[in-house]
Amino acid sequence: MTTRPGLSREWLRKNMTTVGPIVFVIAVEVVFQMINPFFLKYQGIISLIYSMSYFLVAACGLTFVIMTGSFDFSVPSLLKLSALLCVLYIEDLGLWVIPLALLVCVGFGFINGLFLAKFNVPSFMATLGVSIVVEGIARYLSKGFLQIMDDKAFRSLSTTFIAGLPSVFYWGMGIWLISIFLALRTPFGRRTYAVGGNLIGAALSDTNVARHRIYVFMLSGFLSGLAGVLYMAQMGGGSVEMGADMAIPLFASVVAGGTALTGGVGGPHRTLLGVIIITWIQAGMNMLAIGRDIQMLTFGLIAIGMSIATIDRKRKIIK
């Protein structure tokens, strides 16, 4: 009979990265619910959904990149660029602006991947460089002004209510489910895990490692672009300053879900939990009128803490 506690402890140790986030989510929920009983009432839920959905889309893209053991710093900038492209050119192009924005973001994703796969530039630096260029373009295009969007058709993309919930929720969930499907049930997903888990093993099988890395960065670019479109549709306006402090919360939500920086483990299915943790904390703190300062502090600490908790210390780090 002495084996049972040992077994459960063993099980707990093995599944810590799954159990941890769930416990954390519940704890966060309970705390905020106690402080403010409206936290999970209808109004609260709607505002949570608004802050969660586009974020989830972007986080799914980043998850794929981190799964291959790389990092994509350009997600927030691409999100911003795509949002600004939408608001700036909707009058000229109508809804065709959406494919344009997505195409531009996929293009930048391709460049990111190219730098890593062909020029061997560490992904962190390559994407940092690209994100500065993107930032520059966004600044140049928007001239730094606040841009307002009033196209009804475009805005309905995120704000139509279906079954009591805004459509951006279905977008987010849809993309999340597709990402899970992609990661777990397709050869593409298998190869993504393989590249992150054992680069040599992947190269010795029928995987074209260089090309696959480029694909993953393109996917990340695409999802960042889509997140930007959804964001613009739900907000109805924005300036070049938006999304400036998203990098760390995004990263924190991916690692908090249990996708390790070393790559090869985790996945988009886990990222939902991370996104819930981060956005709920954010929402809860906003509700308590706690400023962005403490939020940043918290996310920074979560990012460091979860990186340490999930990382596989036996393995070398590919930047």
């Binding site: 049930r185 298998r190 099988s205």
Partner: protein, 507 residues
Amino acid sequence: MDDSLLAVKGVSKTFGGVVHALDDISLAARRNEIVGIVGENGAGKSTLMKILVGVYPPDKGELYHKGEKVPFPRDPKEAAKRGISIVYQEKGVIPWLKVYQFLFLGHEDKYVKFSKLQTDKMKKQAADILEELHVKCDAEVFMHELPLSTQKMVEIARAILSVRLESGEDGTTPIIILDEPTGPLNDEERRELFSDLLEMKKNASFFFISHIIPEVREFTDRVHVLRDGKLVANYDFSEEKIEEEDLFRAIVGRESSEYISKVEIKGLASKTVALTAKDLTKKGHYYDITFDLHEGECVGIFGPAGSGKSQIIRTIAGIMSFEKGELVVNGQKLKASELPYVRLKKGIGYFSGETGKELFLNWPILKNISFVNMQKILGKFMPVINFNAERKMAQRIVQLLRIRTPSVNTDCYSLSGGNKQKVSVGKWVERKPDILLLDDPTIGIDVGAREDIYEVLSEMKKSGICMILVSDDPKEYSILCDRIMFVMDGRIQKVLSPDEFRKVVGI
């Protein structure tokens, strides 16, 4: 043994109380000589040397320095005080340091004045030492600017210098251990290194670890042969004339029959040619390799390590590129440099026994097996993995190969070495490539698992898959191969039948 500079007597070492890494070894080095220590991988050469420099303590044994009994050193610094220093096989060079910085690395404390390094003094001393040891290079260039052989020489100079600095007296003759120093060098660089080494003999004694037979025979004064942790032969080149083949037999031969395999299959080769290599050349590795591989045939590429056999098989796998010649598979000419995934599409699979190299250890068995067999488990209409088909495929392989595991969902981390290897083979059993390259397929696994793997491979052969084998174990060739190409110095010396082969290696 009075004239010996350094002698060990009766050294034994076991790991985990089971494996006898070293069993009662006694050997000695005299002043100004190069002592060769040869043996296959895992024969105990490295363990012995690590004991001498204080990385491991021995279980038993005595150490004599200039005839006096001394305790074994406990760390490299203490070993240097006794006059022993080591030059590692690789990774020892620090490319972005200048030569004089590298020479004194780790011994800077003696050159610090008011916390500033006395670089002028260091440079001058470095230049003096390089001149004394006949190393032809400038003390102020970066290490990476030097040719590889000179880099090695600087490393050796550094080892000698560290002995002098640590022991404090210039009179001690240093004993330098060279751990396979010629590994990354090509022929010309090798010659260069050896002519320099013969010069350096005036200042030091060397233990020269190698498994490249010609260089050992040519440049060492005496040689000790280790096999399975035992000292099996000693030759003194000044007293007797030793042929390469004698030495070779001493290194690979096994006295007792450890196991006799039940499976022996031969003579299935048809006349259809699956792969043709013509004048395949990569300078410094192999030259003019020409052979045909017939359907259902297994060709072994046999030779001592460093003969170029691994490079040949890796070239065919697409890990290395070739410079001259041509490689034709199923009538299709291959490009000189193609990545492994392209070669796999053309029907060439590569299976390495090095644990963890091609396995995804954090994946369950079924994913590992299905990874190269994706096409078979995708749905008919959409490229979606059919989990049911995947599991069935894995279960079939697990049964076929008798992989001992609770279920196909067990992570490969927790499997034993032999079972890991079986999973690796299993995926190729399912994939059925036209040509399967075996690079040391059974390294480091137990006899039972070996037999199972041989059985599976022979089944695959019967079904028409042809194979190329490279291994450290001569038995493996006699079990699996229909023809054995004997490779030395990167050239095919002769082609043997299995019977002839057994005679040559004496099994």
